[in-house]
């Protein structure tokens, strides 16, 4: 090391290879840095404009009273206190979100995996079944939800009509707070095509030799699933859970449309719509953000709810990623 630095290391006349004092080297490094920055700039600009700035602005506005028309005014923790203590929608929406994560996401993953297993085992007509199971996923969410509210109409819907003929008094579905979230879950299971496809692909990717080896060892079908299939597809299960949780945190269209159609207040009529009809049971956190930010002009409180959502998404994702080892095999 010393041989490469013959000159004094300190003082006004540093060695010729000292970058801080060698103009040519400095210029070269600056050019390199600029080139690197140039290559990085599309990402940097995108990250700054679409993530960093909105996030920082959201934090900033959460401490402001801001209606979108007049200049923001600093109000300290008032918005935070309002959201956590006084807003009538925040906690019910959060509780609904947790219910949907626990039940809907779980059932979607289990159902998606089940359908995937079924489809990969069908010998004849597999293409037809794949298409049939995938098609509902292509239905526009608004149309699909409206169709489900019609099918599950307590009085005139085909489902309850059939149940009536069987002597069963059907539930109120989207018109009953106890049944609205299960109804949404049924709707989500109907549109399972996305998960079916990725599970099917991952199941087809499991090495056949492993099944053969397990069979030679006397493993029954449950053992083969538990000790061969599941470890192989665990990264896909993790992916399905994480994306499912995030999608549920952003769940907006289906519950809103279901609530509006079921309550009979479609919009534009000047009537009051009860958010989360019935009894706030279909209220989700993004609906609260929209209600506060875009209907009540309360950008500050909306930003607080948005930040809570952001933090929860981060916590869930981090938790699931850290539990990754529990999901995945040692080779993964």
């Amino acid at each position: 090391m010393t041989a490469t630095h013959p000159g004094p290391k300190t003082g006004p006349h540093a060695g010729p290879r000292d970058a801080r004092r060698d103009p040519a080297l400095r210029a070269k490094r600056r050019r390199n840095a600029l080139r690197t920055l140039g290559f990085l700039s599309p990402w940097l600009i995108g990250f700054s404009v679409f993530f960093a700035y909105p996030l920082i602005a959201t934090v900033y506005f959460s401490f402001m009273k801001y209606d979108g028309f007049t200049a923001p005014e600093y109000v300290g923790l008032k918005n935070w206190s309002y959201v956590f203590q006084d807003n009538p929608f925040f906690w019910p929406a959060l509780a609904n979100m947790l219910w949907l994560i626990a039940v809907m996401v779980t059932l979607r993953v289990v159902f998606g995996l089940g359908i995937g297993l079924l489809i990969t085992r069908i010998k004849t007509g597999a293409g037809v079944f794949r298409t049939l199971f995938y098609l509902p996923y292509l239905a526009p969410p608004v149309a699909a939800t409206m169709a489900f509210v019609f099918l599950l109409n307590p009085g005139t819907g085909p489902v309850n009509t059939i149940l009536d003929t069987l002597g069963i008094s059907g539930p109120q579905w989207f018109n009953d707070a106890s049944w609205s979230k299960p109804s949404l879950t049924i709707l989500a299971l109907w549109g399972i095509g996305d998960l079916m496809v990725i599970f099917m692909a991952s199941l087809l990717d499991v090495p056949k030799e492993q099944y053969e080896a397990a069979e030679l060892d006397g493993a029954n079908s449950w053992h083969r699933f538990r000790y061969v299939t599941l470890p192989n597809i665990s990264p896909i299960v993790l992916f399905a859970v994480i994306t499912g949780v995030i999608a549920t945190m952003q769940y907006y269209t289906e519950p809103l449309v279901a609530a509006k159609v079921a309550s009979g207040v479609i919009g534009g009529s000047g009537q009051h719509f009860e958010p989360g009809y019935p009894d706030k049971s279909t209220l989700t956190v993004p609906q609260v953000v929209y209600n506060l930010g875009f209907q009540r002009f309360d950008t500050g409180a909306a930003c607080v709810v948005a930040l809570v959502l952001f933090v929860l998404a981060m916590v869930f994702t981090t938790f699931l990623m850290r539990r990754r080892s529990g999901f995945m095999s040692a080779e993964d």
Partner: protein, 448 residues
């Protein structure tokens, strides 16, 4: 020294970044342009957002606009139909070349927000310039619900009056000779007209549920004379005896007609409010609290029975006020971001105050006129059903819920509580109303 220098640079960079963020965030607020420096005689094109979407309504507003353009050849109007308040909010916030100059909304809920936030321009200078006194031009109740705290940022563009529709054939079959005037008479008739069938009804006298289309808290409240706010602007429902009377009456009627569960089950089986299968059209419900538009919709649906209309009954101790009803309507305002406010005012003035324009539009879409001259115009449609609602609108005791800085949130909160009380989820009415007041006050404080 070097470390100190780096630290100082970092601090400086951080401070600069924070300043930039604050600047950027502040920049988002824009700067309102409240001035009206445009020449109303210059060639210009206005963008007008409205909520009408039915073909007949769109044709009517187009005709109205064509008359305006004929009277003002220098102003062209570009209309955007089917606009809701959510879209209006976005448009007013965003501004820009595609933002509206003039907006209309079917709900009066957001007048408080529009006026306090400055989203809509103050119309007082324009009204003064045109020597229009709102109190002498518009129906007093409509003049009141289009301003907030003395600030007038909207004017009424036609109105809605609520009354009682009844099935005349069902009345005759039950031996009922005249529509009820008091609520006790109404309850008796509703029960008499109700025919049960299995777990449901073959004909329900009246659907009293708060979610039964127009049978909302605010529409019932108009008959009871509910005072939602006290003189200090605080929520008043726990202190106002009219609120308790209204809740008690409604709950009693629900019980008399079969209970909440049975009625709610029946309600969810009924057709769409805005479609031909409305339960009043199909005969599933014999009486309906509704607005003046129902008469035309019923006629369009081609009913095989005769219908009548009357003011909705009043509490027995207010029989001298029979004839009153709840009033609401469409509002009209000028976006604060509009750079053509003088031209926009010409359009607003024409649509809202020109008697012929108001009358022809009211006749075309079957709404109640909002100006005093139009209400007395001989050109106004003389259909007896429709005229019932014109009379309700003119009744001095007809009313509207007050405007609030928090829009219609206070009505929604009361409606939520009303539904909980109706279904038996809440049983202590006093405690519930106190809770309602506390919630409304907290929401209003947040919106201040």
């Amino acid at each position: 020294m070097r470390r100190t220098g780096t630290s100082a640079r970092r601090r400086l960079t951080a401070a600069a970044a924070l300043a930039s963020i604050a600047l950027l965030a502040s920049a988002c607020t824009g700067s309102p342009d409240d001035g009206a420096g445009d020449d109303p005689n210059a060639e210009t094109t206005l963008t007008f957002w409205h909520g009408w979407s039915a073909p007949s309504e769109v044709a009517a507003i187009k005709e109205n606009i064509a008359s305006f353009e004929k009277a003002h050849p220098n102003i062209k109007v570009k209309m955007v139909k089917g606009i809701t308040d959510d879209k209006i909010n976005q448009g007013l916030r965003a501004g820009g070349s595609k933002a509206p100059d003039v907006v209309s909304s079917f709900t009066t809920d957001n007048v408080g927000r529009f006026c306090t936030s400055g989203a809509l321009a103050d119309l007082k200078p324009f009204l003064d310039k045109s020597s229009i006194d709102p109190a002498k031009t518009f129906l007093p109740q409509m003049a009141k619900y289009t301003e907030h705290d003395g600030k007038r940022c909207t004017v009424p563009l036609l109105g809605d009056a609520y009354g009682l529709y009844y099935n005349k054939d069902a009345f005759a079959e039950a031996g009922i000779k005249a529509p009820p005037k008091t609520l006790s008479e109404f309850d008796r008739i509703a029960k008499k007209l109700t025919k049960t069938k299995g777990d449901g009804y073959s004909q329900l006298g009246f659907m009293p549920n708060y979610l039964g289309y127009e049978t909302t808290v605010e529409h019932y409240g108009g008959q009871f004379g509910v005072q939602y706010m006290d003189k200090d602007g605080k929520s008043n429902t726990a202190k106002d005896p009219a609120v308790k009377k209204m809740f008690a009456w409604q709950k009693n009627l629900v019980q008399d007609l079969g209970g909440y569960q049975k009625l709610n089950r029946y309600r969810t089986s009924l057709g769409d409010e805005w479609g031909a299968k409305h339960p009043f059209h199909t005969g599933q419900v014999a009486m309906q609290l509704d607005g003046e538009w129902r008469g035309k919709m019923a006629a369009d649906a081609g009913l095989d029975f005769k219908i009548g209309a009357a003011p909705f009954p009043v509490p027995d101790d207010q029989v001298d006020e029979y004839g009153k009803g709840y009033l609401s309507g469409t509002i009209l305002g000028i976006a604060r971001t509009s750079e053509k406010k003088n031209a926009a005012w010409e359009l607003v003035k024409y649509l809202s105050t020109d008697t012929d324009a108001v009358v022809s539009f009211a006749n075309a879409i079957h709404n109640v006129p909002s100006t005093l001259k139009a209400l007395d115009s001989p050109k106004l449609e003389d259909d007896p059903l429709y005229r019932t609602f014109v009379d309700i609108a003119k009744h001095p005791k007809s009313s509207h819920a007050p405007s609030s800085v928090n829009g219609g949130a206070f009505l929604l909160t009361l409606q939520d509580n009303a539904v909980a009380y109706e279904k038996g989820k809440e049983t202590d009415l006093d405690a519930m109303l106190k809770k309602n007041d506390a919630q409304v006050d907290k929401d209003n404080e947040q919106a201040q």
